[in-house]
């Protein structure tokens, strides 16, 4: 039998409908990839073989008896970043702090996946509490890039990107606070969507920085991304930031033409900090769109260069506040040393439970929120964030969407940036602005470096323009 794990989601769906193969056989082909590759790639931190097999068998029985109306995601094996709560399934955020945490309920998106008879293969590796751009800050050790295992997968949702790139799962859900879906997607050669702020519920997803956090998806084509987005987007009464805008059938946008579309090339995303090869590959993509009738227009978003500073003030402020709940009492580890009193207990649990990048960011967040520095750092950052948002509002009066590099460079070597936080933060330079403004951005694989490493381009659209991102991404894959 052909290797089912490499099929498109549509092909799996059609095969299941025609009874050419079963969901269990599709799952088996993914598990085979997991077993042969996960040891080297470290994409999965938990493999729920038994649960996945039970779900697939039960669906197959329903299909056999013609009892099930299949949705397009039914029976398709997928994976979840280890930040999504799944009832009864250990959810660690790759932190010692949550090493034994078993959630008592499902995240809203997990409920939606179950409604669609999705098959959850397991939980994927990530940077601790989603803080990092390389999936090296993980208690499970680094995830590895499938194109070169000496190199990083990107992060923080690195395991998700790897699981999709290496056919261990058909799609994966991740989170993107400053680029944590798009950057690993770009480094691993898959598609990764960060939707509009409020498009997908975050209920049951461990919070990092709430005004920046987005749930999104990885897949191997724009069409597959569209299928997943249609299934998981929408209003959720458990997340008051979700929008009640209708959720369209996103796969319908795939066949739209780019003819007549105005695509902006933002000059700040092509400056000297971005490697020449990356710039050239992305400009080739622009030419491809031009050949299909799109109009390519040079544009400027002048406040782009301030995005990293805004982010690394606002995000740690929100992160340090969100992580206050990990005190070893309601959540978190019991410290190994005996504590003298309750305050000593907090100190011991937090000092032992958090890794170094988290401690660094908590200190920064605490500093920028502290009396005397609040106006100079936090409030200033929130004001400059307004200017970044206005940059996007202005540019979208001139063009329909933007095309830009995702990461300034392809995958770097494991360990290279680990002890240089500022250099690591620069990896997010081109992805943070879309989070600052809450606009959707889709990373697509568009080329390779001379050394064979994937290079991605991102399509950025106005809020709720996910369909347009998919149209352009599909045109780029033609």
């Amino acid at each position: 039998m052909e290797n089912l794990s490499k099929l498109s989601i549509r092909a799996v769906h059609e095969g299941l409908l025609k009874k050419d193969f079963t969901s269990s056989e599709v799952l088996e082909s993914c598990l085979k990839e997991v077993k042969s590759q996960n040891k080297d790639l470290n994409a999965f931190v938990l493999i729920d073989e038994e649960g996945a097999k039970m779900a697939a068998n039960s669906l197959d029985a329903k299909i056999m008896n013609n009892e099930s109306s299949l949705s397009v995601l039914s029976g398709v094996p997928m994976s979840l970043k280890d930040i999504f709560c799944v009832k009864g399934m250990r959810t660690t955020c790759a932190s010692k702090m949550l090493e034994n945490f078993i959630p008592p309920y499902d995240a809203t998106v997990v409920e939606k996946l179950r409604d669609n008879d999705s098959i959850i293969v397991g939980k994927t590796n990530m940077d601790e509490f989603a803080c990092g751009a390389s999936t090296e800050h993980s208690i499970f050790g680094p995830a590895r890039n499938p194109y070169d295992t000496q190199r990083v997968a990107g992060g923080s949702s690195g395991g998700s990107a790897v699981s999709v790139a290496s056919n261990m799962s058909f799609y994966s859900l991740g989170t993107d606070t400053g680029g944590s879906i798009r950057q690993p997607a770009s480094l691993c050669g898959v598609y990764g969507l960060k939707p509009t702020y409020g498009r997908i519920s975050r209920s049951g997803v461990v919070s990092m920085a709430s005004s920046w956090d987005h749930v999104g998806a990885f897949a191997r084509s724009a069409e597959d991304i569209g299928f997943v987005l249609s299934a998981i987007a929408g209003k959720d009464r458990r997340d008051s930031t979700t929008s009640d805008k209708d959720v369209p059938d996103y796969s319908k946008f795939l066949d739209d033409s780019v003819k007549g579309l105005k695509i902006g090339i933002p000059k700040e995303y092509f400056d000297e900090g971005v490697e020449e090869e990356t710039r050239a590959v992305v400009m080739e993509s622009a030419k491809k769109l031009e050949k299909q009738g799109a109009e390519i227009i040079d544009v400027s978003l002048p406040y782009t260069k301030y995005a990293i500073a805004v982010y690394y003030i606002s995000m740690p402020a929100e992160l340090s506040s969100n992580l206050e709940r990990f005190d070893g009492i309601r959540y978190g580890i019991k410290p190994s040393e005996k504590a003298e009193d309750i305050v000593d207990y907090y100190y011991k649990a937090r000092s032992e439970g958090f890794g170094s990048e988290i401690k660094r960011r908590i200190l920064i967040g605490t500093y920028v929120l502290s009396s005397g520095y609040f106006d100079a750092y936090y409030k200033k950052a929130q004001k400059v964030r307004t200017l970044i948002l206005e940059d996007f509002n202005n540019v979208f009066t001139k063009v329909d969407a933007l095309l830009a590099p995702v990461s300034p460079f392809p995958a770097f070597k494991v360990g290279d940036l680990l002890d240089n936080p500022l250099a690591m933060y620069m990896a997010d330079a081109l992805t943070i602005p879309a989070n600052a403004a809450g606009v959707p951005a889709l990373s697509c694989p568009v080329g390779k470096s001379k050394t064979g490493l994937p290079i991605g381009a991102q399509i950025i659209a106005p809020q709720f323009g996910e369909g347009l991102c998919l149209t352009v991404a599909n045109a780029l894959s033609a």
């Binding site: 340090s320 070893g328 309601r330 401690k359 908590i362 920064i364 964030r385």
Partner: protein, 96 residues
């Protein structure tokens, strides 16, 4: 920029203990990061309002009514590693 007293105050606010090595490493790294943040002083924000929320939603209200929670009280108590007593988590003494 960050002296020992300031660092110790931050550590106290964050309820995290640091070793001497960690202090040396983190204080210089954080200083580098905070230095970089000064780039924002180039921007005139005297007439700019801060942004806290980006998709324009405000005052989201829910309808009155009883809604069954996703997890029971005992499920939530079980998330703690500490002993549970009379539907409460038993912690160390708060008042000495």
């Amino acid at each position: 920029m960050i002296n020992r007293e300031q660092f110790e105050n931050l550590a106290k606010l964050a309820r995290i203990k640091f070793t001497e090595d960690e202090y040396k490493k983190f204080s210089s790294q954080i200083e580098g990061v905070l230095d970089y943040m000064n780039i924002l002083n180039e921007v005139d924000t005297s007439v700019v309002l801060p942004t806290d929320q980006v998709n324009g939603l405000s005052n989201i209200l829910d309808q009155d009514g009883f809604v069954q929670g996703q997890a029971s009280g005992s499920d939530l108590l079980n998330c703690s590693t500490l002993p549970v007593d009379s539907n409460q988590i038993r912690v160390l003494k708060v008042i000495k």
